[in-house]
Amino acid sequence: MSESETLSKEIGSVWLAHSAGLHARPAIQLTKMAKRFQAEVWVGVSEDGPWVNSKSIARVMGMKVPSKTTLYFSAEGDDAQNAIRALIKLVENDFTSVADGGE
């Protein structure tokens, strides 16, 4: 089982251009989006980690990620790929228009 689990692990990255960086409001939007998925989803500023649970608002905000940083996402679970896609899209859209649902 452990081998098949590693197959479902997804990784993605996106350029964080938001002028304030990953401050309060963007961090909240990111956390809310991550919570829509069953998969475990982590975020980091390097593809080697350290990874932070993206569903924990205190931890995401605690990263204090500045603007003009590459954000990395790592997810594991059935909807891992969708989670990564949705999070990348959220960051690309400057953390706006998330109220319309995931599709």
Binding site: R25, K35, I57, A58, A99
Partner: protein, 130 residues
């Protein structure tokens, strides 16, 4: 609306309570039942057990309600308000040991994803325990 834990904000100052609620609405959104109260009936600083009870009813969710308070009387009056609730509701309301503004925003963020009462409470209370 009732599927998410509700958030009640209780401050001695009506402006602080309203401002914290504004932050929740603007930063987190409207998926979470939210109510606030502050000040005494005469318009000064203070808190009122009756107003807190009204706020708890307004933010009521069958999943439970977390109450974020500022100083002394806000906490004791909130605990008194919880005691005066019907017995079946009492166990579903918790007064958090957390900073009122940050705790409200954090609790609402956690609640917006459908988290349990315990999870919402811990998110607010663990804010500075990282």
């Amino acid at each position: 609306m009732n599927k998410n834990v509700g958030v009640v904000i209780v401050s001695h100052s009506v402006d602080v309570a309203r401002g914290a609620a504004d932050m929740v609405r603007q930063m987190v959104g409207d998926e979470v039942p939210l109510a606030w109260c502050g000040g005494d009936p005469a318009g000064g600083l203070g808190t009122s057990v009756e107003a807190i009870m009204v706020a708890i009813e307004k933010a009521w969710s069958d999943q439970g309600v977390v109450v974020l308070v500022d100083l002394g009387g806000a906490e004791t009056n909130s605990e008194m308000a919880v005691e005066m609730l019907p017995e079946n509701k009492r166990a579903k309301v918790v007064v958090c040991n957390a900073p009122i503004v940050e705790g409200s925003v954090m609790a609402a963020t956690e609640a917006s994803g459908g988290a349990s009462l315990d999870e919402v409470r811990h998110t607010a209370e663990d804010l500075y325990a990282r």
